[in-house]
């Protein structure tokens, strides 16, 4: 959902969900990204990041390769954008040049849920494990039996006041980026739920937890409404009006382990 005052086309977050693998080895990948509003082409960059994560992410040890392939794909995407501008007779203006040169910036969060062999269920649950990757301040929360048991990579609502380190489409702006990637992993049991959300909503979510509330119930109820899109939209609008939620693009994914 875009920030208030912006159109749907100006939404600069992105999300992606992989198809479940057809064989007995279960692997599901989801990702969200939050394009920085100060940069140009941030929506396109956020979309490319989630697409590349969902389709090509393998292991943390292959981060460098994934990154360089992703930056190469971006060069291709940027060239097509520039060609499209020429075709549309809309030449790049002087005020766009610095932003295009500086590159686009985005936060990225990816989650991979696997069950090595779906036919061999373990006794402590249903044998799922998850691994998450984050750069920036998009957040993952894991819920078990109505308790938030994991928060990654941000664990306190006040941490959102800082400017996060974001992934740039410009190689020169990514110095030391490998060290900025954070990784986490854990197991998942039947009926565990995962929430992935961009920073404004995550800040609200953590704040609520810190104040003894159970914000996941509120969010889950929205998804179970008769018209979820409308329910989410109205809920976000009300939270913004009450100044409980910063006016920013909001992206939320809820996953539940069913069996």
């Amino acid at each position: 959902m875009p920030k208030a005052g912006n159109t749907a086309a100006e939404y600069e977050d992105a999300f992606g969900v992989s198809k479940t693998s057809p064989d007995s080895t279960f692997r599901s990948v989801v990702a969200i990204a939050d394009g920085a509003s100060e940069s140009l082409l941030s929506r396109q960059w956020a979309k490319l990041l989630v697409k590349r994560f969902v389709r090509h992410w393998q292991e943390p040890s292959e981060l460098d390769e994934w990154l360089s392939d992703t930056l190469r794909a971006w060069q291709h995407e940027k060239r097509s954008y520039l060609r499209q501008r020429v075709r549309e007779h809309k030449p790049i203006q002087w005020y766009e040049e610095p932003g295009l040169e500086a590159g686009a910036f985005a936060a990225l969060l990816g989650l991979v849920i696997t069950r090595p062999d779906a036919s061999n269920e373990s006794s402590n649950g249903c044998g799922y494990t998850w691994r998450a990757v984050a750069v920036g301040d998009c957040c993952l929360f894991q819920m078990r039996a109505d308790v938030c048991i994991r928060s990654f990579p941000v664990t306190e609502s006040r941490a959102f006041t800082n400017r996060p380190f974001l992934l740039s489409s410009n190689l020169a702006r990514n110095a030391g980026i490998a060290e900025r990637f954070q990784f986490a992993e854990g197991d998942a049991q039947r009926h565990d739920r995962f929430f992935l959300m961009t920073d404004a909503l995550a800040a609200w979510f953590l704040y609520e937890i810190e104040n003894g509330a159970a914000p996941w119930r509120e969010l889950s109820n929205l998804f179970r409404a008769k018209n979820p899109a409308q329910a989410v939209g109205e809920w976000i609008k009300a939270r913004r009006t009450a100044h409980e939620l910063r006016n920013d693009d909001v992206t939320l994914i809820e996953l539940e382990i069913l069996d």
């Binding site: 920030k3 208030a4 005052g5 086309a9 100006e10 509003s37 100060e38 140009l40 082409l41 941030s42 929506r43 396109q44 203006q93 002087w94 005020y95 766009e96 040049e97 610095p98 932003g99 006016n247």
Partner: protein, 278 residues
């Protein structure tokens, strides 16, 4: 809380620059040979407008987060814009972006990646020319600022309050401007009063005074006037002044006395850094 309104296309804010273009602006900065004050101010303002436009540029164009006005006063009092927007009082920033009078090519030194510097050609759009001519009708300029801002505020009653940056090197020649300046800062939106920065340019080599919170160390009645009429810095502006290496105390004003060009550029930055852009 004041000065917290979100700046957006539906609730834009405004920067109004009021620039002394009197004859004495042809002198060099105090203690510095070479560049005329008028040239330094025009360069600083053109560069600032360029940076503001770039900050508002998005993939689909320039977003109208601001209206921009430049009032020049000297031989005449009026809009200092050139080219297609000449004569206009407040111009949405997308139109400012689309209408520089011309674009010059200038050289900039950039790092070559091997520890050295190389010269690179950069585009430098020009909206304002340096002018230095005749008297200093400051009162009339401030009266015009008041009229301009009143109509802006009537159209945008909940805007982040307009910010006026006044750059001068001399004393008013059309009477005491105090009341006209007070009329400007008395204008308010639901988010607070108009903020006025008074930036006085050096004509001597004496030490500049930047962002004081009292007039004790000021040399004369004229400095007192510019201090008295300047607004207090907002908490956000105080934080930027600290970033720039100053240590302003509580109640510090948007006031610079006997400033050099570096101080002009810094105060433009303090006054115009977006705090709450959406």
């Amino acid at each position: 809380m004041s000065y917290s309104a979100e700046i957006s296309r539906t609730n834009p804010s405004c920067f109004l620059f009021v620039i002394d273009q009197s004859g004495s602006m042809a002198d060099p900065f105090g203690g510095e040979a070479g560049k005329r004050k008028a040239d330094g101010v025009a360069d600083a303002l053109n560069r600032l407008l360029q940076n503001l436009v770039i900050k508002c540029a998005k993939t689909e164009g320039v977003r109208d987060y601001y209206y921009i006005g430049v009032i020049g006063y000297g031989a005449q009092v009026g809009s200092a814009f050139l080219g297609n927007i000449a004569g206009r009082e407040l111009v949405p920033i997308s139109e400012v972006a689309a209408n520089p009078a011309r674009i010059e090519e200038r050289t900039k030194k950039v790092e070559d990646g091997a520890g050295g510097l190389v010269e690179q050609m950069v585009k430098f759009p020009i909206w304002i020319e340096p002018i230095a001519n005749q008297g200093t009708p400051m009162r009339k300029a401030m009266t015009m600022a008041e009229t301009t801002l009143k109509s802006f505020v009537a159209a945008h009653p909940d805007a982040f309050p307009p910010i006026v940056i006044h750059i001068t090197d001399g004393e008013s020649t059309d009477g005491d401007p105090t009341e006209a300046m007070r009329n400007v800062t008395n204008i308010q939106t639901s988010d607070g009063n108009v903020l006025l920065f008074n930036v006085h340019l050096s004509s001597s080599s004496s030490q500049p005074i930047a962002y004081p919170n009292s007039s004790d160390a000021l040399p004369d009645k004229y400095a007192q006037l510019l201090f008295d009429t300047a607004s207090e810095l907002t908490p956000f502006m105080l934080s930027i002044a600290r970033e720039q290496g100053y240590d302003p105390e509580a109640g510090a004003r948007g006031f610079v006395f006997n400033g050099d060009l570096a101080l002009v550029i810094q105060s433009l930055d303090i006054g115009t850094r977006p705090s709450n852009l959406r």
